[in-house]
């Protein structure tokens, strides 16, 4: 490629990237997914616990994730997340949840239903249940859970009730006695459980029974809940801070580097659009530390321009012509920018690899920021500067803030 073709290639590349970014970003209010800290919601980390009868293993974890998934689905939220983390932990994210405490309690409940005979032996468990619904019923029209048994369960239960006619069968939920009715007749596929505080209690239990019991109990080891108002305030404040930070940088660059500073500001606009476009394209979730990472990367993006401009000034002072100074300024600054940015990328990569959650989000935005900033500083700024230099301004180096001393 000769230099003309190369310039054409760069120009097309920039336009294509911008177009792609705008495509991903449109419409703006839907393109970015907001993290729980910004839109409000609950993040819970559950840890499975060993019991005397059940050890936490891969199989138990898979069943655990399944059951919790079903329970979360019952909450009817848009885009909840249930994800296994490591050997015994599960992340649950509930965006926009109304009553987080209730939800956490529901999700974390073991919900082990047990039918015990008079001797205290467990004769049947909740696994035999096909369906469960809450209603008012029974002798005193009280809240009940009416259940339906599976085929095998019906057979089993008929056998049990036949053996225990006139005797008590106690029903326990998580080792808490719900009710202890006396068996009147043989029960096959349908039955009712009483002993609930109110209808809501019965509804909760029915939900849990439908979703199934957890194979092992879980404990909430981490919980982060943010109300929707606080999230909204955080967005407004950080956007305000971002805009002010940007304006300050542009003013500073224009004062320090004159025309080249303005060029840098334009390059910065390119940079912002491309970075946001990449984030939208990757379906990245924007969190508060993520926004901080973005704003910070803007500051660092300017650095590449600063290195180049200072180098051009230096080359110009050494007695080169404007064009030659610009060329060798870019060439020399390239290795500097490369070495300094790769070391920063190394730390960002380690941060992304070892970090979790928000820290990882921060590392990813920072890494993308560094890569794009190299591109905009080296390609975009250079193109714009060359464009300016092809005009009459080439004879007025002072407009760029260059002087021979």
């Amino acid at each position: 490629m000769n230099w003309k073709q190369k310039r054409m290639f760069n120009f097309i590349l920039i336009v294509a990237l911008l177009g792609l970014a705008v495509y991903f970003l449109y419409p703006l209010n839907e393109s970015m997914e907001l993290g729980l800290d910004l839109q409000g919601g609950t993040h819970v980390l559950l840890e499975a616990q060993d019991t005397q009868t059940a050890k936490v293993d891969s199989d138990a974890m898979n069943r655990l994730v399944n059951v919790i998934n079903r329970r979360v689905d019952e909450l009817g939220l848009t885009e909840p997340l249930v994800q296994r983390q490591g050997d015994r932990r599960i992340i649950v994210e509930l965006p926009g949840i109304e009553d987080p405490n209730q939800a956490i309690e529901t999700i974390g409940k073991t919900a082990q239903l047990q039918f015990k005979n008079e001797a205290g032996e467990v004769v049947m468990t909740g696994e035999a249940l096909k369906d469960a619904k809450a209603a008012y019923g029974g002798e005193f029209n009280q809240p009940v859970v009416s259940f339906e048994l599976t085929k095998g369960g019906s057979k089993e239960f008929a056998e049990i009730t036949r053996k225990n006619i006139g005797k008590v069968i106690a029903i326990y939920l998580d080792n808490k006695l719900l009710t202890a009715p006396t068996v009147q007749s043989v029960i096959r596929e349908k039955g009712q459980i009483t002993g609930f505080k109110d209808l809501e209690d019965a509804q909760q239990t029915a939900l849990l029974l439908r979703a199934g019991a957890l194979p092992v109990p879980v404990e909430v080891v981490e919980n982060r809940t943010v109300g929707p108002t606080l999230g909204k305030i955080s967005i407004d404040k950080s956007i305000q801070a971002a805009i002010i930070g940007l304006i300050l940088i542009v003013i500073f660059m224009a004062i320090t580097y004159w025309l080249s500073g303005v060029v840098a500001a334009v390059a910065l606009a390119f940079y912002s659009i491309i970075v946001l476009g990449i984030l939208a394209g990757l379906n990245a979730t924007l969190t508060l530390p993520g926004i901080a990472g973005l704003i910070l990367s803007i500051g660092m993006a300017v650095d590449a321009n600063v290195i180049i401009f200072e180098r051009i000034k230096y080359e110009y002072r050494q007695g080169k012509t404007v064009k030659a100074a610009v060329k060798s300024g870019f060439d020399r600054a390239f290795t500097t920018i490369l070495d300094s940015n790769i070391t920063t990328l190394i730390t960002a990569a380690i941060l992304g690899y070892l970090g979790t959650g928000t820290v990882r989000g921060f590392a990813i935005t920072l890494s993308i920021g560094i890569l794009v900033s190299m591109f905009t500083a080296i390609v975009v700024t250079r193109m714009l500067l060359n464009l300016l230099l092809s005009t009459d301004l080439v004879n007025k180096p002072k407009a760029f803030g260059w002087a021979r001393r």
Binding site: K237, V302, I307, T343, A348, A363
Partner: protein, 281 residues
């Protein structure tokens, strides 16, 4: 006339040594103010329609039999309560009680288990160590081994200064602090490399200057860049620090101190160490 930075290197290093020493003494005697991400615990933030005093909150919390005294802090239109690590059921009970009693609204709940905190501390340590090793490897490859060591010492300098000042001021640290430290590492190394790059270039072209002279020229020539870059990075940091809301303030404070220290160390610590090394050989 060229400013003589290398010549006064003992002075710069002494200034650093004093700040680091003060920080280390503070870390040794009063330690770091570990937030719940590191130490485990519970934070609940409420907003109220009418002002509620700390005593009123404390009185209500008394009913729940906490083993450690809660720390209550007034916020814009509510309170922030820090407590020991509590089971989910107790957190629910406390929130229901306070919301009902003072007609308030829960805005934020954070509960972190003690084991999580320990894991985070381990991870932070390994992340920093791994980053340091990777940087040493890269700089040794692109420059020389002694440059790598000087850069790492400058990094250690920055990490110690940030840790020390956070301990002195007893600012609470949480998991974003780890991200801040690693960002500072990234920034500081970036700053140092730009100067090293100029030294490398000068060494190639050098005729009769001493190593110390080369270093000084490189530092002075890159000085405008060092200052301007630190300013352009500090502008957004300051904007977020003052306007970005309370949740990320400590994070930005760490970055502020780190960027200042990183700029200082790349000018006044990294190359002076190189020169010192060179002259003692």
């Amino acid at each position: 006339m060229i400013v003589d930075i290398i010549g006064k290197r003992r002075l710069w290093m002494s200034i650093s040594a004093i700040v680091i020493l003060a920080g280390l003494i503070s870390i040794l005697f009063q330690g770091m103010n570990l937030g719940i991400d590191f130490a485990g615990g519970t934070i609940i933030e409420f907003t109220f329609d009418k002002a509620v005093t700390n005593d009123q909150i404390r009185g209500t919390l008394d009913e729940f039999g906490l083993t450690k005294a809660p720390k209550i802090q007034q916020t814009e239109n509510g309170v922030l309560i820090r407590m020991e690590e509590l089971p989910a059921s107790k957190i629910t009970a406390i929130e229901d009680k306070i919301e009902a009693k003072f007609s308030g609204k829960m805005q934020r709940t954070e509960k972190v288990g003690g084991t999580i905190g320990k894991e985070l501390r381990n991870k932070a340590f390994w992340a920093l160590l791994l980053a340091a090793l990777a940087i040493v490897a890269y700089i040794s490859m692109r420059f020389e081994f002694r440059f790598a060591i000087a850069a790492i010492l400058a990094l250690l300098h920055d990490v110690l200064i940030v840790l020390g000042i956070f301990s002195l001021l007893q600012v609470e640290i949480n998991s974003p602090f780890v991200a801040a430290l690693l960002t500072i590492v990234g920034y500081s190394i970036n700053d140092t490399i730009v100067i090293f790059d100029r030294i490398r270039e000068k060494m190639r072209l050098a005729k009769k200057e001493t190593f110390a002279q080369l270093n000084n020229e490189a530092i002075v020539e890159t000085l405008p860049r060092s200052i301007n870059t630190s300013l352009t990075t500090l502008l957004p940091v300051l904007a977020i620090l003052f306007l970005g809301g309370t949740t990320i303030q400590n994070f930005m404070l760490a970055l502020l101190i780190g960027v200042l220290s990183g700029t200082y160390s790349s000018i006044f610590v990294a190359s002076p160490i190189l020169v010192e090394w060179d002259e003692r050989r």
